[in-house]
């Protein structure tokens, strides 16, 4: 009897996973802490230009205001796409994201991986050092030099 019940429970759990996929239901997050630089996802991921630090700050502001997703480039080399910062419920050109472009931050949050993308829901900005990655002396101002 116990085996039958376990089988039914397992089947029900598997069915629930299949049913919930694609319906706006919660995925299982992992708690993490990330330290890294707030970056413009498009320019960094596509490598269409040098996209870190002071050299790329102005462009990062343009892209964030334009609604391109903002990420944290972790010291582990991973790119974490930020979907929420603390109690801010929007993530397109939202005020918190606009003011921390190129900053080095440490954030606590929930990581949800889906189809090759690491999404991060930041529950707390534990530290914000401002812009500390001085890249402009080597790269100038990206992408137009002004």
């Amino acid at each position: 009897m116990g085996t039958i019940l376990r089988t039914i429970k397992t089947a029900a759990a598997m069915l629930a996973v299949v049913t919930l996929s694609g319906t706006g239901q919660a995925a299982e997050p992992t708690r993490i802490q990330v330290t890294g630089e707030v970056i413009d996802t498009w320019c960094y991921v596509t490598e269409i230009m040098y996209a870190e630090g002071t050299a790329h700050h102005q462009c990062a502001v343009w892209c964030a205001v334009g609604g391109i997703p903002v990420s944290v480039l972790g010291e582990d080399g991973n790119v974490y796409v930020v979907l929420r910062v603390e109690d801010e419920d929007t993530n397109v050109a939202s005020p918190r994201m606009l003011t921390v472009q190129s900053h080095k931050v440490t954030v606590d949050g929930d990581l949800i991986e889906r189809d090759g993308v690491k999404y991060l829901i930041v529950t707390q900005v534990a530290d914000d050092q401002g812009v500390v990655n001085l890249t402009h002396e080597e790269y100038g101002i990206m992408p137009f030099g002004e």
């Binding site: 996802t41 269409i48 892209c63 391109i68 397109v92 993308v117 402009h136 992408p143």
Partner: protein, 168 residues
Amino acid sequence: MKKILTAIAALTFSFSAQAANEWGIEGEEKARFDAKVVDILCELTGNCPDNCGDGKRQLGLLKEDGTLVMVAKNFDPFAGGADDLAPHCGKKITADGLMITTAHMPIFAIQFTRPEGGKWKRANAFGQNWSQANGGKKAGQWFRSDATVKALIEQDGVFGIPGLEPEE
């Protein structure tokens, strides 16, 4: 330098063809597929505002096989695709653009949308909305005259550090 010039061309110019243009980005592939427009935060956490957040949430494309595609870019320079997709929240569309697969993640640049039974539309809603909000000013160089951008750069400078200025 070639890479930068290609990037500038991709970000600056518009094209007339009604199918995806190549932008010369490593790992890009033209892609056309059917998918449902979803609010990514809603899809992942169940936090779902009305109308996918009315353009204030990052939107994605959910394929029938369950794959969630993150849309990071539209046809306008330095702009994302939320304004193009928000009107289709929860509905199926055909998306046309570039799927760019890198070591970091897959990323989609949407260039055209077509609702079921509807017509193709260029994905440049950010520029159109910006122009409308700025007295009809052309949006081709929106980033140079945008009030929010100007305020942020005035506050922190082009390098993001107040007082640190470019050399003449």
